[in-house]
């Protein structure tokens, strides 16, 4: 029996909308979802079961190797007859992975340096701290202090280990952080230059970007390491790490410049006109209006390029520097510990992954925040 409005009167048996029990609905929902997406047909059921079996095999095999059958004891002897991983290798070698052959008595210095940078990174995540006036100077001071600690300074009574002894994760981080810190601003200048109205500046920027992008990083590192010294007077021999660093910066800047240029093209002409009509100068317009918008557009590809830079630092191995990956290779060659390849690379992979994932996560946080703001 229906009322004139076409609705069921209140006392008739409830048809569809029941007071939903959220728990019940959730469980039904999950089951319903599975039935709909995983077991809808014969073939789907087969695929689901097969996939589940593969995942299980891989995960359980990995867990057996890494945990259940593994040995965590110290010393090469502990691993005799062990089927799983031999984590004693990492236990012994981890300082090598982290700081390379940096003098053992001075290892506290890179540790403190890392703490300083990590603390800066942590507070940077906080928006309110970041918005503080002069906050970015703190980064400059912090990085300078960290660098001084690692490099050493006779004035401060800190010995100066040769930079060829820098290695491991420390070297990877130095090359990455300094690489980004210099290459990024440089790339902004290049991108602006490429869009400049002045023909000479534009031609120079285009030539630079295309030249560098047309050459593999390995070539550039070789050039920086072995050919540049030939052009300089015999006495002037600047640091090996610095040469590799310059190579990485020159290389990354070209790629970053193209990413930034993509962002610049995403900012509408109207923005330039509005800024121009207000009488803002070129640099004010770029700095306050265009760049902030352009860089927000390209956060995802920028992050990708930064991550690539981090991983590309491993190529410095070919000019005789031992970064995280290079050190792993050195450690693997230790005659006392033969055949510990997988442990070494798994450990290194874990470190690379955490660093890259951290960058990626931070970029997503930034993206979400900017989107929410507008």
């Amino acid at each position: 029996m229906m009322t004139e409005a076409g609705r069921l009167p209140p006392d008739s048996p409830p048809s569809k909308p029941q007071p939903p029990n959220p728990l019940l609905r959730l469980r039904l929902g999950a089951f319903g979802w599975m039935r709909k997406n995983l077991f809808s047909s014969w073939l789907n059921t087969l695929l689901t079961v097969a996939a589940a079996w593969i995942v299980w095999e891989a995960a359980s095999g990995m867990a057996r190797w890494a945990l259940l059958d593994a040995s965590f004891a110290e010393g090469p002897e502990a691993c005799k007859g062990i089927a799983g991983a031999c984590w004693g290798f990492i236990r012994e070698m981890w300082p090598l992975f982290l700081v390379g052959v940096y003098p053992a008595t001075e290892r506290w210095r890179p540790a403190v340096a890392l703490l300083i940078v990590a603390a800066l990174g942590a507070v940077t995540l906080n928006r309110r701290v970041r918005a503080r006036r002069g906050f970015w100077w703190l980064w400059l001071v912090g990085c300078a202090a960290a660098f001084l600690l690692i490099r050493g300074s006779p004035w401060l009574g800190l010995s100066m280990p040769e930079s060829t002894r820098w290695g491991g994760l420390m070297l990877t981080l130095i090359l990455t952080v300094a690489g980004i810190a210099v290459a990024f601003p440089f790339s902004i200048v290049l991108a602006l230059g490429r869009r400049s109205r002045m023909p000479i500046i534009r031609a120079l920027c285009v030539a630079y970007i295309e030249l560098i992008r047309g050459v593999p990083l390995i070539t550039i590192l070789f050039m920086a390491s072995f050919m540049l010294p030939l052009f300089f007077p015999a006495g002037l021999n600047f640091d090996k790490v610095l040469r590799a660093q310059v190579g990485i910066i020159l290389f990354s800047a070209a790629y970053l410049a193209e990413v930034v240029r993509g962002g610049l093209q995403g900012v509408g002409r109207g923005q330039l006109e509005a800024a121009g009509a207000l009488g803002l100068s070129y640099w004010h317009t770029m700095g306050f209006i265009v760049m902030p918008q352009a860089l927000r557009i390209v956060i995802p590809p920028l992050t990708g390029t930064f991550i690539a830079l981090l991983k590309d630092t491993s190529l410095v191995a070919i000019v005789g520097l031992f970064d995280l990956l290079g050190m792993a290779q050195q450690a693997v060659g230790n005659p006392q510990w033969l055949g510990k390849l997988i442990e070494a690379y798994a450990f290194v992979a874990l470190i690379y992954f955490s660093l890259c994932y951290g960058m990626s996560h931070f970029s997503r946080v930034l993206e979400r925040r900017f989107k929410a703001g507008q």
Partner: protein, 254 residues
């Protein structure tokens, strides 16, 4: 309409002498001559593609004219960057598409130029921004981002932003054309108030009611030429030119 006509002794704010401009082969502006005195409100109308937007965009050098001379407050517009910057400080502009800075809060949209171009202290610029936002009736939106406002509100922010440079001349380039009908009035009200306060204004608009009420002079453009310049009274009741009559019949019919 009680606003007194600008008295003849008022100095000229803008002078255009035989201004010509081409986009490639297309002759957009043909021998434009125009004088605008202080406190005068000039409305430019005409069919689309007649060159009216290009004309006012030449006045603050968003477009470059190729022949003829443009003077703003006696300073000639040439490719000299110093002159261009000087003139842009004196000439505010409001765009059809608002062109607010989407990454800055409404308040910062307004105070940015005073701080960096006029070198006003931050606190003073903020006070000025709030004052102007209050004047256009949206002080309560100061902390929002432009994307959170309606079209009419955005355009009022754009007007406040232009006014923050304390310009002597305001250019309006079809300020209501991108707005939903119900928001047009709030923008026109602000412009009306501005005209009454004695601002020198050039408005490209299709709002004939506004033109009739506020303009001291209406200019009709067609195919890159000024066809007719007249008082609103004459323009609407007794247009001289055939083309003006045709345009008016088209635009006033609906």
């Amino acid at each position: 309409m009680s606003k007194p006509l600008p008295d003849a002794g008022q100095p000229l704010m803008i002078q255009l002498r035989q201004v010509n401009k081409w986009f490639g082969q297309f002759h957009v502006l043909k021998d434009i001559n125009l004088d605008v005195s202080r406190q005068e409100v000039v409305v430019i109308c005409g069919p689309s593609g007649s060159g009216k937007s290009t004309l006012i965009r030449c006045i603050n050098r968003l477009e470059e004219h190729q022949r003829g001379q443009i003077f703003v407050e006696g300073t000639e517009l040439t490719s000299d960057l110093k002159h261009i910057e000087l003139i842009r400080r004196e000439v505010g502009m409001v765009f059809q598409q608002f062109n607010l800075f989407p990454h800055l809060k409404v308040k910062d949209n307004v105070s940015l130029a005073p701080v960096w171009v006029r070198k006003l202290p931050r606190a003073e610029a903020d006070r000025l921004a709030m004052e102007l936002l209050d004047r256009v009736g949206i002080a309560e939106q100061a902390e929002k981002y432009p994307g959170q406002l309606s079209g009419g509100q955005q355009q009022r922010v754009a007007i406040a932003r232009a006014l923050a440079m304390q310009p002597k001349i305001m250019l309006f380039d079809e300020p209501t054309s991108a707005l939903d009908p119900e928001m047009i009035k709030e923008v026109l009200d602000v412009m009306r108030e501005l005209a009454k306060s004695g601002m020198t204004m050039i408005c490209v608009t299709h709002e004939m009611g506004f033109a009739r009420e506020v303009a001291d002079r209406i200019i009709f453009m067609d195919q890159g030429q000024i066809v007719e310049a007249n008082t609103p009274q004459e323009f609407f009741t007794n247009p001289r030119e055939q083309r003006t009559r045709l345009f008016l019949s088209q635009i006033l019919q609906h």
